[in-house]
């Protein structure tokens, strides 16, 4: 395979133009965007919003790494440092990762992929975006007022009794964002169950839909528990009800049970949509149907189901009983199995496929390696003995960044690049994007691999000062973070550039299967001129070939 071999098939640029009527130019004016019901416009609104918050969260990451260049806590005071990692966590998790694929790519694509004109409840979709912003503004308010330093985990009794920072403001923000998430998930579930086109059976749907469906179940069932937990924290702070206060008879561990009951499924909410993207990308760039479609589909739902049974593995050292810890440890081992099944299936999709290395595929390969490492280290942490040693160290930090950044963020970027031509009608510049992908990969590994070692050697997390023997690894990590930052800035720049100067993409530049590639780029507001009737399986490249051949002979 040569490095220049590509499946990219663009129309003749001398004569190609964007379609006359698209969802973008259908209506003009800011208000037509702010009051839209069109799922595609809402997706773009979300994309801009989460990018904004991503860079704020990223700025905090930069500040963290800057402080950790030196062993002494010399850049800021310790509670300011606590505010850095708290805001970094809250913004990155609730304002970026949780909505990343569902609210942008999911919103844009799911109705098209199932063959319908919009999501089930367009107004609720718009409400979801407004709730995101109201919650985001509360979070920014907490930031501007002085920040919150509880960590994103709001652990009691620190958050309820020992701090006078803006815990309630931040908690309110997260509470509201939670409802944004719930409504998105609710919309997806109803759409996938009840609005599929004629012939679009469950097992003909793209796996992207299955993954988002599983994540949506988690959003709908898990997020409300976070909501009530935050209400109780607020009441505890404001009124002193005693629910988590040992002196009044409360149990601080109850907070953790309720908090992690959501927050563990939350990590699956974050990763499942990314896994859906990877299924689509790997299939397209291997020109091969996903190996074991049924296994991948069911494993998505299995991850969602088992994800509800393992939350106390975040609490092994917090005072839960040994017997309970045993149960949760065993179940944690089980929850790794469906994820592993997916990795195997993607690997076997690649086998004997016709592989090319466009940017989405580069990100997908990055995902395969980095998510596997992240996932495996998760299994290490699920073992009780190991966890006693490794918990609350940098090993945990490295583990979750491998799965969330090396995994999910790479999948998000893969998806953005893959569907960019569909959403905008324009191609991004391929060589620059490949450079960015490689830079990101190198920067990521340089940042987070040393952190595994640091954690194993015993450096605790959430400390701004550390013993001098850890400095070298920390410096490596900060250097990596700088490279990573460059890697993330590049897409912002060239994707914006491509909106005006990118090549015209045409309907199906990747020659991919899937209903979204059979319509114009960018799509019409109503998606389809006629609702399609589906009579082929997902990832049916023979059908696509036949259709394309058929088109060539009939176009006069």
């Amino acid at each position: 395979m040569s490095a220049t071999h590509t499946i990219l098939n663009l129309p003749d640029q001398r004569t190609a133009t964007l379609p006359k009527r698209t969802y973008i130019n259908n209506e003009d004016g800011l208000l037509s965007w702010l009051f839209t019901g069109d799922h595609k416009r809402i997706a773009i609104l979300y994309l801009i919003s989460i990018t904004f918050f991503f860079f704020i969260g990223g700025a905090f990451a930069g500040l963290i790494r800057l402080e950790l260049l030196t062993p002494q806590g010399d850049l800021t005071a310790s509670d300011t440092y606590n505010k850095f990692f708290s805001m970094h966590g809250i913004i990155m998790i609730f304002l970026f990762l949780v909505p990343s694929v569902p609210a942008t790519l999911g919103n844009f694509l799911i109705p098209i992929m199932v063959g319908t004109k919009d999501l089930a409840f367009p107004k609720i979709n718009l409400l979801s975006w407004y709730l995101y912003w109201i919650g985001g503004l509360f979070t920014l308010a907490a930031l501007v007022l002085g920040g919150v330093d509880t960590g994103w985990t709001f652990t009691t009794p620190l958050s309820t009794h020992y701090l006078n920072t803006h815990v309630v403001t931040a908690a309110t923000g997260v509470f509201i964002i939670g409802f944004s998430s719930i409504f998105t998930g609710l919309n997806f579930i109803v759409t996938i169950h009840r609005m599929r086109a004629p012939g679009m059976t469950w097992f003909r749907m793209p796996l992207f839909c299955w993954s988002n469906y599983a994540a949506s179940i988690l959003m709908v069932l898990g997020t409300p528990v976070l909501a009530i937990t935050l209400v109780l924290v607020a009441l505890e702070r404001l009124v002193g009800i005693g629910v988590f206060d040992p002196t009044k008879g409360g149990d601080p561990l109850l907070f953790q049970h309720l908090f992690w009951f959501y927050s563990h499924p939350a990590v699956y909410i974050m990763i499942l949509p990314g896994m859906g993207v990877i299924s689509e990308v790997i299939s397209t760039f291997s020109r091969k149907r996903v190996f074991g479609y049924t296994a991948v589909a069911f494993s998505s739902v299995a991850i969602a189901l088992f994800g509800f049974f393992v939350w106390a593995h975040h609490m092994f050292i917090m005072g839960v009983s040994n017997y309970s810890a045993l149960v949760f440890s065993l179940l944690t081992m089980l929850v790794a199995v469906p994820s592993a099944i997916k990795i195997f299936n993607w690997a076997f999709t690649l086998q004997k496929g016709s592989i090319t290395f466009e940017t989405p595929m580069l990100y997908a390969f990055g995902f395969l390696g980095l998510f596997t490492i992240g996932g495996m280290t998760g299994v290490f942490l699920g073992a009780l003995g190991m966890d006693i040693h490794l918990t609350e160290t940098y090993f945990i930090v490295a583990h979750f960044h491998f799965v969330m950044v090396g995994g999910m963020l790479m999948a998000f970027l893969a998806g953005i690049h893959f569907w960019w031509p569909k959403m905008t009608g324009r191609m991004y510049p391929e060589s620059l994007s490949k450079l960015a992908a490689v830079t990101t990969f190198i920067g990521f590994n340089l940042t987070f691999l040393p952190q595994f070692i640091l954690g194993y050697l015993g450096m605790p997390r959430r400390y701004h000062a550390y013993p001098p023997e850890f400095q070298v690894l920390n410096v490596l990590s900060t250097a990596g973070a700088t490279v990573l930052g460059v890697g993330y800035m590049l897409p912002l720049l060239y994707l914006a550039w491509s909106l005006k100067y990118g090549a015209i993409a045409g309907n199906n530049p990747w020659q991919a299967t899937g209903l979204e590639w059979q319509i114009q780029s960018p799509p019409l507001t109503e998606n389809f001129i006629e609702i399609p009737v589906v009579d082929h399986e997902a990832y049916d490249y023979e059908w696509l070939e036949h259709k394309t051949a058929h088109e060539v002979t009939t176009v006069g």
């Binding site: 004629p198 012939g199 059976t201 106390a312 839960v320 009983s321 149960v327 009737v533």
Partner: protein
Amino acid sequence: MTEIHDPSNVVNPEHADHHIVTPVTYAIVFVSLLVGTAITVAAAYIDLGIFNPVVALAIACTRAVIVILFFMHVKYQSKLVKLTVGAGFFTFLVLITMTLTDYVSRAWGLWS
């Protein structure tokens, strides 16, 4: 015949029944709920030992079930809706029981 070519019948899978529940059914349910309230209060005054909360919860669950089935029409709804209701209560039970595994087995707790 349907004018929509829909061989897999995804548009209206179970041809949702527009069964209209009659006021008589509602009245029977209404009276049962009131009777249930009376029994719950009466039972609270009788010493059944460990079974007091069990009886109270059992009556409450029964009343909830008839409200769900009849006032909320679930008896006449599609399998999807029935499954959804089940899923909700299942998840609630997971929250309760699995958190209990910790509290029930804790030595320093006050579980008695």
